[in-house]
Every structure is written in structure tokens, then in C-alpha cells.
């Protein structure tokens, strides 16, 4: 990237305020900013396209990172944020990432979280999208004692589009939670949330998803779905779907399910000669497939799949 637009250095102008809903930043964010001892800033100048995916590795030597991504009009980038397994001495990580997409900018963002040793990881991502911009975010929470991801999106220009996907596979006493708030403040925007979790052992999970459609955000299309599989009796999932719609010409839906592995499907595979463990793996991977199929880098998909298989083999 060459050159930094000056306004990228300024604090964001309350990305969510236009919606007049939740205050965009909470006391916790103050703590995040106050403690921030590192971070990155990524700016893409107008009409540029990052030829390679930008890969950022988040080491565990820092308490909190404050990151900023500013994408000027019609720029385009893929960003991979990796939270690797590192033996950091710090007990918790608390990151805030602010993202501004200007007109027609396109961002693909992937969170790959396989932290294992960090006891606590919290991320909050606040997005403001101008008209015609498109963002796709994929979260893959593959391990971590406590992982919580928050995503706040304001679709603040017509024809903006946001797709949010998330998966988590928790085992033992792990916790993985997602909180997603998408606010449609402009007409003719689209948003889609699809989150799936598999829980084994005594692990817990949560999904809290909210879609707000403001009065003037006519012709909104907003979808939300959370599907979850509990592999053990003591695993626990909490789901809170919300829709708040103030416009009258919109298409919105939400759905939430918690269930077990489909026994009849398992029997179907076994009756064809496929062993029980293998059959379970096939079904669990097929359950999660929908949440990663739009990732365009095969090596990332393979990495996620590999880790999932490892975990499944431990938890059959």
C-alpha cells in the first residue's frame, strides 16, 4: 500500500451513531483503548486492489490491540487475521478493530482463531459501510478456553451488503460466543448472518444476533440463522435472536436451532459400510460446510477442516 489518508488516523466518528440505537462504544471499549499496547492500521487508497491477501498474525504478547482498516472508494482487499497458538504469559486479549468501507469498497475479512493457550480472547469489530460497499467476514473459532467475538455493523449507504459467517467447535470446558448487531440505516441494503457451533463435553456457547432496520431503510433484505449441535448431554448453547424492524417494505427472517447429530443420517452412512467415527465426521463437516464454503482460499478452508477433524477424532 502506498500512502496513508490522514483521516484514517483520526478516531472514527461513532460508526453506529447514525442508527440512533446502541451506543457504539461501551466502557469495556474504553478499557480496550486505554490498555491497547499495539495494533495495526491498514489503508487502501482509492481504486486499488490488494493483489495478495493481507495476512496479520496476532501474537499473544499484547494485552489489547486497537486496529483500524480504512478502505477508500472502490478499493478491494482480503485480510486474514490469525490468532495462533502461542505460549503467551498474558491472561487475556482484548482487541478492537474499526473498519470503514467507503463507496463500493470490497473487504473480505477472515478471523482464524486457534489460540488454545490464551485463556481469554475477546474481539470487537465495529464496521461502517458506505453505499455500494461489500464486506464478507468469516470467523473460525477452532480452540480457546474463552473466545468471544463481537461484530457491530452499520449499513450507512444504499446498496451496501454485509455477509457474516461464523463457526466454532468447542470441547472440554471451552466457551465460544458470538454477538452480532447489524443496523440498516439506509435503503436497499442486504445483510446475512449464518453462525454454526458444535459443542462437546461440558463446553458452552452463545449466539446473540440482532438486526435493526430503521424507518427509512426500505427494501432491506436481512437474514439471520444460528444452528447448533450438542454432542454431549452437558454441553450448553444459548441463543438470542432479535429483529427490530421500523420500515414496512423489507424482507427479514431469523431462525435458531439446537439439536443433536441426526441419528438416521448416521445410520444411513453406516448402512453403506462407512464406520461410525468416519460417518460422524462426515456429518459434522457437512453441517459446518455452509459457513466456510464462501472462503475463496482453499488452503484456509483446508486448515480449518484439518483442525476440525483433529478435534472430532478426540471427541467422538
Amino acid at each position: 500500500m502506498n500512502g496513508l489518508p490522514i483521516d484514517a488516523l483520526l478516531p472514527p466518528a461513532h460508526p453506529l451513531k447514525a442508527g440512533g440505537n446502541e451506543p457504539p462504544y461501551t466502557r469495556n471499549d474504553g478499557i480496550r483503548l486505554g490498555m491497547a499496547d499495539n495494533g495495526f492500521m491498514l489503508c487502501t487508497p482509492e481504486k486499488t486492489k490488494a493483489a495478495q491477501p493481507v495476512r496479520i498474525i496476532r501474537t499473544s504478547d499484547h494485552n489489547a490491540c486497537n486496529n483500524i482498516i480504512t478502505m477508500e472508494a472502490e478499493s478491494c482487499a482480503d485480510v486474514l487475521l490469525v490468532y495462533p497458538r502461542l505460549s503467551g504469559k498474558i491472561s487475556g486479549n482484548n482487541d478492537l478493530t474499526e473498519i470503514h468501507l467507503k463507496e463500493n469498497a470490497v473487504l473480505n475479512l477472515i478471523f482464524l482463531q486457534d489460540t488454545e493457550s490464551i485463556p481469554r480472547l475477546q474481539t470487537k469489530t465495529v464496521v461502517r459501510q458506505a453505499s455500494g460497499s461489500r464486506m464478507t467476514v468469516h470467523y473460525a473459532t477452532l480452540s480457546g478456553e474463552y473466545v468471544r467475538n463481537e461484530l457491530h455493523v452499520n449499513l450507512d449507504g444504499s446498496h451496501a451488503e454485509h455477509q457474516a459467517y461464523g463457526l466454532a467447535f468447542t470441547e472440554g470446558s471451552e466457551y465460544a460466543g458470538y454477538e452480532v448487531q447489524i443496523t440498516h440505516t439506509s435503503p436497499e441494503c442486504r445483510s446475512n448472518q449464518l453462525f454454526k457451533q458444535i459443542l462437546s463435553g461440558t463446553s458452552t456457547g452463545s449466539f446473540s444476533g440482532k438486526v435493526t432496520v430503521n424507518r427509512n431503510a426500505q427494501k432491506t433484505a436481512a437474514y439471520q440463522r444460528s444452528s447448533n449441535i450438542l454432542l454431549d448431554l452437558k454441553a450448553k448453547m444459548t441463543i438470542l435472536p432479535h429483529l427490530e424492524i421500523y420500515a414496512d417494505d423489507v424482507k427479514c427472517s431469523h431462525g435458531a436451532t439446537v439439536g443433536q447429530l441426526n441419528n438416521e443420517a448416521l445410520f444411513y452412512l453406516r448402512s453403506r459400510g462407512i464406520g461410525k467415527i468416519e460417518a460422524k465426521k462426515i456429518l459434522l463437516l457437512s453441517f459446518l460446510e455452509e459457513t466456510i464454503k464462501n472462503i475463496k482460499y482453499q488452503y484456509i478452508k483446508d486448515k480449518i477442516t484439518q483442525k476440525l477433524i483433529q478435534k472430532m477424532e478426540k471427541n467422538h
Binding site: 444411513y268 452412512l269 453406516r270 448402512s271 453403506r272 459400510g273 461410525k276 460417518a279 462426515i282 457437512s286
Partner: protein, 246 residues
């Protein structure tokens, strides 16, 4: 080949099969008919190892093996195949991958090397043609978005790929129009060999116009109340099942 002796089965404490006996030899087709609730699907489930069925008495031998001691996948490895009454949709798993795994797992069980990719694809195409299934089936997810008729044809397609010693067809005719019925029955008939056998479970005589059985058994109230040749099916069609209950 298959020997079912004095089989008693309960489901959730309810006695469904009450002393069923059945002998199937290689080269034979057996039709099992009977009223709803007689235990026909229970028989199919118990023979293939579906969970939730408790065998309280009796035994089942298949080519010298104690069948009831084997897992569903081991039974498949031994050559038993079930055509499901309600085939299951598995999104995200392609038919090609599913069949490749199934074929090669069964080959592994029998100590055979895996099929080469070319040989496998060739077989997929040949067998799909036999069941008049579109070639695009290979890349579609298992049963996802298939029509009722396609699902049943897909069951027989899998049977053609796996070449089982004993095929159990559980109400394969239900929900089929006459064309699909003809295709399905034609598939089953063309797979018939002197060294394999089939048990055809059906409520109606209709299917037996196309798949001609060597024996027809009437299952009522948990056991076989009458056995005859193919003409018994016609008699049942005419008189219903009541006359046998007395």
C-alpha cells in the same frame, strides 16, 4: 444365506416381532407383505442394525455369521444392503464422494484394494444410466433436492454400485409413479444373479408385477402367518389381509 429363527423384537417396550422365522437362499427373491403395523419395517431395521430395536429372543445367521453381533457397517461389509423407505438428505456431501467412500470401505472390509478413480467413475456412469439418473447426480449432494422418485432410484443406484449379496428393499415402491416403479424394478431385476438374494418388503402387490418373487410371505401381528408362491400376492390383492387373521 440368511436364517432368521424365532426372532422377537421390542421397540420402546412394545413387542413388534413375536417369533419370526425366515430362510433365504442364494438366488431367491422373497416378498414380505402384510398390513400396516405388522412389523415389516422392523424386520428390515433389525436385519441392518438400526438403533432402538431390542432383540429379546431368537437369532439371525447370515452366511455363517451371527448377524446381530455385528455393527451396521460390518453388516454392509458382509454384503447386506438396505434400500431406505425414507432416504436421508446429506447436504454438503456429494454423491461421488459418498459412493467412493462406501465402495472403498466395503472393499477394505473384504480385503480388496480401493477402486481406481477412473474405474470408479466409469461404474458410476454405467450404473446411473441403468437407473436412468442424470449424470449431474454425481456432483449433487446426497439426496438433497431429489424428488421422491429420484430418491428411490438413487437407492437402487447405490445398490447397483455396492453389489450386495442380500438386498432388503423397504417399501421401495411407496410414493412412486408407474414410470419410476418400472425403472426401479427394472434395476433390481437386472442386478439379480444366482449368488445374490433379495427381500422385498411391500404393502401392495403392484411392485411384484415387475419384480417376480419366488416366495411371498404374509407378516401379521409379528410373525409370518402364510407363505406361498407369487400367486399368493394376487390373492392378497383381491381379498385383503383380513381373511388370514382368523
Amino acid at each position: 444365506m440368511l436364517s432368521v429363527r424365532n426372532l422377537h423384537v421390542s421397540v420402546a417396550g412394545n413387542k413388534i416381532l413375536k417369533g419370526l422365522n425366515l430362510e433365504v437362499r442364494a438366488g431367491e427373491i422373497h416378498a414380505v407383505m402384510g398390513p400396516n403395523g405388522a412389523g415389516k419395517s422392523t424386520l428390515a431395521s433389525v436385519l441392518t442394525g438400526r438403533e432402538g430395536y431390542e432383540v429379546t429372543d431368537g437369532e439371525v445367521w447370515f452366511e455363517g455369521n451371527d448377524l446381530l453381533a455385528l455393527s451396521p457397517e460390518e453388516r454392509a461389509g458382509k454384503g447386506i444392503f438396505l434400500s431406505f423407505q425414507y432416504p436421508v438428505e446429506i447436504p454438503g456431501v456429494s454423491m461421488a464422494n459418498f459412493m467412493k467412500m462406501a465402495v472403498n470401505e466395503q472393499r477394505k472390509y473384504r480385503g480388496l484394494p480401493p477402486l481406481s478413480a477412473a474405474e470408479f467413475l466409469k461404474q458410476m456412469r454405467e450404473k446411473a444410466k441403468l437407473l436412468e439418473l442424470d449424470a449431474s447426480l454425481i456432483s449433487r449432494s446426497v439426496n438433497e433436492g431429489f424428488s421422491g422418485g429420484e430418491k428411490k432410484r438413487n437407492e437402487i443406484f447405490q445398490m447397483a454400485m455396492l453389489e450386495p449379496a442380500l438386498a432388503i428393499l423397504d417399501e421401495t415402491d411407496s410414493g412412486l409413479d408407474i414410470d419410476a416403479l418400472r425403472i426401479v424394478a427394472g434395476g433390481v431385476t437386472s442386478l439379480k444373479k444366482p449368488d445374490n438374494a433379495a427381500i422385498v418388503i411391500t404393502h401392495y402387490q403392484r411392485l411384484l408385477d415387475y419384480i417376480v418373487p419366488d416366495f411371498v410371505h404374509v407378516l401379521a401381528d409379528g410373525h409370518i402367518v402364510k407363505t406361498g408362491g407369487k400367486e399368493l400376492a394376487l390373492e392378497l390383492e383381491e381379498k385383503g389381509y383380513e381373511w388370514l387373521a382368523d
